[in-house]
């Protein structure tokens, strides 16, 4: 996983509540055997007509929003099924940060496992970001994970909370696996007895 320190990018506003993982990545795309390549299907039913032609009204079909990397959305983002394809699709499209006033639990966890930073801000701050991003296409912000701040191009800065353990993992670019492997010696030690493990042929 790439370390995450700071990130500057264009904000894409999707001012809807309860954006579910079915909307993020519809189920017809779940049969792929890769983790990559889901970006073209991100928000598929909102982005494309059934014949595959883009829907011009949708924000990600409009420049410069189409090259946004920070998504700002309504509350309860990522509800629905546990599919990890949702953060995969967001990251593959180019989103590194998702800002909302609340997130569904499993989606929130899945983001950290994939190097995407979900930021929870008070409703009023999210509303302000949505308004600015809508009023000024190409409006940017910088996210500093170490300082736990979001600073907009217009100079306002807000602080956000994040679990220290998860923060450390992201800062060091450690996926959980990398982190666990640091304790390989302890795993080796455990395996010397491993009272309930029974190797099969």
């Amino acid at each position: 996983m790439e370390p995450f320190h700071t990130h500057t990018g264009i904000l894409a506003p999707i001012p809807r509540a309860n954006i579910d993982t079915d909307a993020i990545i519809p189920k017809q795309f779940l049969k792929r055997i890769e983790r990559s390549g889901f970006g073209s299907f991100l928000f598929y039913d909102w982005r494309f007509q059934s014949d595959g032609t883009p829907i011009p009204d949708f924000v990600l079909n409009q420049a410069p929003y189409s090259s946004a990397s920070i998504l700002v959305a309504g509350p309860n983002f990522g509800c629905g099924s546990s599919r990890e394809h949702a953060p995969w699709a967001l990251l593959d499209y180019g989103f590194h940060v998702i800002i909302a006033s609340s997130f569904a639990d499993i989606f929130y966890n899945n983001c950290f496992k994939n190097g995407v930073l979900p930021i929870t801000l008070p409703e009023t701050d999210v509303e302000a970001l949505l308004a600015q991003a809508q009023a000024q296409p190409g409006f940017t912000a910088t996210v500093d994970l170490r300082e736990q701040t979001v600073t907009t191009a217009s100079g306002q800065s807000v602080h956000f909370a994040v679990d220290p353990y998860r923060k450390m993992c992201l800062l060091e670019g450690l996926d959980d696996i990398g982190l666990t492997l640091r304790h390989a010696a302890q795993i080796d030690e455990y395996e010397k007895t491993a009272p309930f493990a029974v190797a099969h042929a």
Binding site: R35, T180, I187, Y190, V198, H200
Partner: protein, 468 residues
């Protein structure tokens, strides 16, 4: 004296590799079951980071979710299903993982084959990229479902980062009345306490009604712990457990088995150990269950009626019930036994084992399914299928008009060609009745195998207690 502990805590403590304040616990995993749908990206992740599978000898794979249940000699027609199956085969070869492949005698639904091969043992931590991994808790194992990143994590490290779960005792007193099954017990529990009573907990099922259950019945109960919101459910191992395990292929053999048994006997909740929560349930008054809605908690006694949303005080419950009745095409007040069905599915990791097929066959014997019903039996595994055929159960089913299929998940999730048509109503022995679960606009009623079989014969739901 040591502090009294619950079984859940004992298993947890025996698997702590590392514990550090401010960090999740590193928990050792004894058995990792793998299937074709949630694993390809995990293996891809290992490849891109140049990692190996730490313990292929604690990992075991099979194909179940996507496999066709018709003639296996024919090629798989869905190219995407075929690709997922081929990919698992290639990954197992590359990483040295044993695989019960589509033509293997050991193939079957992952939660059916784990126990029958003796892979599932008391005290183990068991994971699989599938939420019904809770099934294995029937043996006194701590078994739960994980996501694809966690599948990769376990493949690479044989560990998981976890926080200690809260513990809940579900105490079932009395005994199941005759004609009432383990499926009715778990459906009844969820109907009474809702689909979220177990959220955040691991459940230990206890009490005389639980102790009296066979291993397969215990699996049915633990299987649906996830429908109660719990990540895992378990039952302390006892002589019933040991008798089931003795002689299973991957279980300890001979003197090793006797030694293991002594260790397994320690796996119980100490007297006076405290659970974080406790509920009680009376088995005695239980009646065969049928779900009427689109959540496993929307269940009723077979002697009851479809509920009236207007009578529901809670506005959220009322709205959900209204939507469910609209989707299910049901009218409030309809007696459950007047609901006519079109399809019957007997199978899945909840009810696809030999005892389930025996119970269904007993109802079906010498009868014929209703002329408007299409019914199928999908054994949970090849070994179940072989056993059933040795006992002549397949003849009973086929003569009655059932289709007798090859093992797999089949119409439990309808990822393979076994799908309900829009509007079709199905009596199903599986575990989820969500909208679209068995096919777009298909209508699922969850029942026990005997109830499903009886519905196939009558063409509508009937009270199986009256059949004896």
């Amino acid at each position: 004296m040591a502090r009294p502990q619950t079984l859940i805590d004992k298993i947890w403590d025996a698997h702590v590799v590392r514990e550090q304040a401010g960090e999740p616990t590193l928990l050792y995993i004894d058995l990792h079951l793998v299937h074709e749908v949630t694993s390809p990206q995990a293996f891809e992740g290992l490849r891109t980071s140049g990692r190996k599978v730490r313990r292929p000898d604690l990992t075991y794979a099979t194909v179940d979710h996507n496999v066709p249940t018709t003639d296996r000699a024919l090629p798989i027609t869905d190219p995407i299903s075929k690709q997922q199956i081929d990919t698992l085969r290639a990954n197992c070869e590359a990483f040295g993982i044993p695989l019960a492949d589509i033509h293997s005698r050991d193939q079957g639904v992952v939660h059916v084959i784990g126990p029958e091969l003796g892979l599932t043992l008391p005290g183990k931590t068991i994971v699989c990229g599938d939420s019904h991994t809770s099934t294995h808790g029937a043996f006194g194992a701590l078994a739960f479902g994980i996501g694809t990143s966690e599948v990769e994590h376990v493949l690479a490290t044989e560990c998981l980062q976890q926080t200690r779960p809260k513990t809940m005792e579900v105490f079932v007193f009395g005994q199941l009345p005759s004609g009432v099954t383990a499926k009715d017990l778990i459906l009844g529990l969820i109907a009474k306490y809702g689909t979220a009573f177990g959220t955040g907990y691991v459940i230990e099922y206890r009490g005389p009604a639980i102790v009296a259950l066979s291993m397969e019945e215990r699996m049915t109960v633990c299987n649906m712990s996830i429908e109660a919101g719990a990540r895992a459910g378990l039952i302390a191992p006892d002589d019933t457990t040991f008798a089931y395990l003795q002689g299973r292929r991957h279980a300890p053999q001979g003197a090793d088995f006797e030694a293991a048994k002594q260790r397994w006997r320690q796996l119980c909740t100490d007297a006076d150990a405290a659970f974080d929560a406790r509920i009680e349930f009376d088995a005695q008054t239980l009646v065969p269950q049928v779900t009427w809605g689109t959540s496993p908690g929307m269940g009723a006694d077979v002697t009851g009626r479809v509920p009236d949303p207007a009578q529901m005080a809670d506005p959220v419950a009322r709205r959900s019930a209204e939507l469910a009745l609209a989707y299910m095409g049901l009218t409030a007040g309809t007696p459950m036994q007047e609901i006519r069905i079109d399809r019957v599915f007997i199978g899945s990791c909840t009810n696809g084992r030999i005892e389930d097929l025996r119970a269904a066959a007993k109802v079906v014997q010498g009868k014929t399914i209703a002329s408007h019903v299409k019914a199928m039996v999908v054994p949970g595994s090849h070994l179940v299928k072989e056993q059933a055929e040795r006992e002549g159960l397949h003849d009973i089913f086929v003569q009655a008009g059932f289709e007798w299929r090859e093992p797999g998940c089949s119409m439990c999730l309808a990822m393979n060609p076994d799908v309900l048509a829009p509007g079709e109503r199905c009596a199903s022995t599986s575990n989820r009745n969500f909208e679209g679960r068995q096919g777009r606009d298909g209508r699922t009623h969850l029942v026990s195998p005997a109830m499903a079989a009886a519905a196939a014969i009558a063409g509508h739901f009937v009270d199986t207690r009256q059949l004896a």
